[in-house]
Symmetry: C2
Subunit: 557 residues, 2 copies
């Protein structure tokens, strides 16, 4: 089979105007970026806000392993499958981050015959959204230090400035710096550092804002530091929000592209799935719901993190009501969860497969706790055996009461996902979903975290020191008690130990740190190490990336 | 009169496709960015490279003063004037830098009725070129530190790493930092810092490259540091150039916009006019010459810096042959050069005006040293008197042998620059130009600087210490002796003292530092302080910039 980039290049793309027309978007609402990408001004679509909403389908996955699951690929394949069976379908995906493209090889626009295109542009600067977010974030940072420089009227305790800087680049040298060196003219030296742009709170805000007014309000609530008497200082106090909104004005319009089979797809926003909620923008999802009868979207990491945050943060904040959740698994990954080493995954191993199904079982059960009906998609690999498929199908039917559908969209495009499409559409149409978040807004913050740990992770509870207990109390006292919790922990296990595959139970989730994202509207509970600025590997992909003699980009994918 | 932004908003823009058609660019060559901006793929224009070149007109100015000259405004007005008198005209301008927009109020897309539009987009992210340059620059920086981190195979002496990082932001806190703090995993701590993106050598390279192959070669020649035995280490040694080229691939296509009167304009590239050459991209200028019979372009600062570098660096490198140079002046600025204080510029003062003409005289004479015929444009202000205009016209005719034309494009658009257009076109058509750079490639570097100082600045010579004399010798020995000199000095005076207005003579130009820009292809001679990362003022424009209730951007211009 040809490579992803060969497939993408061989495709004949439709002009973005034709894709827009198919989605019911008139030419007046289109702001083209090249021939195959456009930003959409939904206010220019007649009657847009009065249209009924389509059905929202979440694609999530088992706990990730090095074997891979293919969540984005399945999202695209399912979208194409739905289109093929005659459903008016929209896809909503996250934008890839530029920085990591130069580290490890690999794009983030699907794979095989289930891709969104044009993949080079999507994986590179695209429509500049992340650059706009970088600029808005760093403008606020510059205004913090500038304020201190010119007299510090707001009274910053400069040791407490929490607003770091960002770049869309894997650059470990910038993780921890001392800034404002070099003399009086450069300000007051202090400890600072850079995160990658996707880790910016501005990215999370961008993805949760309902519209530009909501965006500006949220930006204003960003806490950048505090005074010596512990009063919080916000972006609004610095009068930074108007200029930040101006920088984000065009970026806030969702980006329309197409799958290889011409299904319209919004690719918009891409917050980190650890210190943020890891889903595409609310604006894109809501726009897709107005345009499609079925909307297929995804959330980062496995369902314990991705789906939980999708439900408890994104759907709660945006009033979304998901109809179905597709849990993606592969035979290979399930065998890994059952204890098989990576180099032995090509061999049939029914015993390990059955053991590994414990991971899928937990995720399926978790989905149901939100009142959303699950369905399992097995993303087919060439090494899968018929017996393995049969085992999964029977187990799911008999023990979990869900369908498990073998999907071949990677090799066959939408045709390989038709069965899944039929079943997902039927499940959505049954209207069995009765979505509710896991916990109410009014539950105290600490209890919210304990609830997620027990109900979703199968933990016995959480551990925390007295300082963190006091921090919970401080956050409640400061009026942030109604916010949902955004857990940052390893995606590889239900526990905080990445080596514990399958479905560990009775473990303790160790809380290490609490961070307030007042603008995004959640409290981040960090359980374990989290990396907010990646580094490049010994031999970065950047060394191989180049433009070939035909003008094609090579080495990026 | 309405403000710039009110004028720009009231204008009815033509679709970019119509502007392109007028310029002879077929739809296939257009990569639209919204409705009014497009990147142009010149390879998709049939017979493009075989077209004859139009005539190149440089707009430059007297030494700038706080009174203002209106160089960009005159460039736009002259372009519109040429269009009005029936000449097939293209304009080529620099892209504005984003960072300074949030510091001091003011856009950089012309003014009054002589503007390029859409001004909000041009002044904000535009087509993302500067973001692409920021990414390419910082990728190289990350690869330098990553190389050291993973074993330092090339043997960097980390004290000698000269490749800083960049952001398109006014942020003094980043001028001088210590990076890679925080432990082993973050690398080896060292002194580092950020410049503003326009100061990046990648920006200068971008603007001097003839095509993508030349771009990649130049990127490869960037010197990032050296070994302990003083061997230079380049971007090519780090295998960074392919990935940098990929990041710059789309950006390299020139951006087409329009003036308020529909003259097509390329706005592409914008290197600093101090540590770089301060002109729009060679690619845009050459493309404009293929498409227009007359091409109007500009260069940064006054003619001693801007025109000198345009001729000695850009024209030399790109083989351009300018036909005419327009020297812009205002009555007000000439009076300032004659000693009048800013608050008294509204009163007629013929004596001061005559004294101030010494500055214009020197610039006009300098232009002639390059074999290019000059003409003077007086950018009309409401406070000008008829007697002042008469004095300038007579002085120019009788003492300088040039025409001085009063221009009213700011208030009247192209109609106010018709007389200038007729005279510029006639001068260009006479074919009197016989361009040659001021000095030959083979002249030693130090002599090149001395030649510029004597011939252009009216200096008695240069001063330098033994270390700098040795540095000249080192650069010659390392094979960089053939490069032109790029002088960084104050733009406010022919001398290195910004308070010396008019035409000081016999002064000494103090050389402070030499920097090699091996990729851009020049040696920077720094004479005085240069600021490569601006700061924000006490009350930054960012505090007032916002989106109003009608969705308009306010406060940016």
């Amino acid at each position: 089979m040809p490579t992803d980039i060969e497939i993408a290049r061989a495709a004949t793309l439709q002009p973005v105007g034709a894709i827009a027309e198919q989605a019911g978007i008139p030419a007046e609402a289109l702001h083209p970026y090249g021939k195959f990408i456009a930003k959409i001004d939904t206010d220019a679509i007649p009657g847009f806000h009065d249209k009924p909403d389509g059905k929202l389908i979440l694609v999530t996955a088992i706990s990730p392993t090095p074997a891979g699951e293919g969540k984005t690929t399945t999202t695209v394949g399912l979208g194409d499958g739905l289109t093929r069976i005659g459903k008016k379908t929209m896809i909503a995906l996250r934008e890839p981050s530029l920085g990591p493209s130069f580290g490890m090889k690999g794009g983030a626009a699907g794979g095989g015959y289930a891709q969104v295109v044009p993949m080079e542009q999507i994986n590179l600067h695209f429509t500049g959204d992340f650059h706009a977010i970088t600029s808005a974030h760093n403008l606020l940072a510059a205004m913090v230090d500038n304020h201190v420089y010119w007299g510090n009227g707001l009274g910053f305790d400069t040791r407490t400035i929490t607003w770091r800087r960002v770049l869309d680049m894997n650059d470990r040298a910038l993780r921890s710096i001392v800034s404002s060196l070099g003399g009086n003219g450069n300000g007051f030296p202090r400890e600072d550092g850079f995160d990658i742009t996707v880790a910016s709170e501005v990215m999370a805000i961008f993805c949760l804002a309902r519209d530009s007014a909501d965006l500006e309000e949220r930006l204003g609530r960003i806490v950048v530091g505090r005074t010596r008497d512990k009063r919080l200082i916000t972006a609004a106090d610095l009068k930074a929000t108007g200029a930040m909104s101006v920088l984000l004005k065009d970026a806030l319009m969702p980006n329309l592209v197409q799958t290889l089979e011409g299904t319209p797809a919004f690719v918009h926003g891409g917050p980190f799935a650890n210190i943020a909620h890891g889903c595409n923008s609310v604006i894109a999802t809501r726009a897709a719901l107005k345009l499609g009868d079925y909307v297929v979207t995804e959330a980062g990491f496995g369902a314990d993190l991705g789906a939980e945050k999708f439900f408890d943060i994104k759907c709660r904040e945006a009033g979304l009501k998901p109809a179905v959740a597709v849990v993606v698994a592969t035979v290979r990954a399930l065998k890994m969860h059952g204890g098989v080493a990576k180099d032995a995954l090509g061999q049939e191993n029914l015993k390990a497969l059955e053991a590994g199904l414990s991971n899928l079982t937990r995720h399926v059960g978790n989905i149901r706790k939100f009142g959303v009906p699950p369905i399992v998609a097995i993303n087919h690999f060439a090494t899968d055996t018929a017996a393995e498929h049969e085992l999964i199908r029977n187990y799911c039917r008999n023990h979990l009461g869900v369908e498990a559908v073998i999907c071949r969209h990677w090799a066959q495009g939408g045709a390989g996902a038709e069965e899944l499409a039929h079943k997902v559409a039927a499940l959505a149409d049954e209207g069995e979903a009765d979505f509710a978040p896991l916990y109410p807004d009014a539950m105290p913050l600490r209890e919210k975290l304990e609830t997620v740990a027990r109900e979703i992770y199968g933990a016995a509870g959480i551990s925390l020191d007295a300082k963190l207990a006091a921090r919970f109390a401080d956050l409640e006292a400061a009026g942030f008690g109604e916010l949902p919790i955004c857990v940052a922990k390893t995606q590889y296990s239900f526990s905080a130990d990445p080596t514990l595959r399958g479905a560990p139970s009775g473990h303790i989730v160790p809380l290490r740190e609490l961070r307030l994202s007042a603008g995004a509207g959640f409290v981040v509970a960090i359980c374990g190490d989290i990396m907010t600025m990646p580094g490049l590997p010994r031999e970065p992909a950047a060394e191989r990336i180049h433009i070939d003699a035909q003008g094609h980009i090579e080495g990026l994918f």
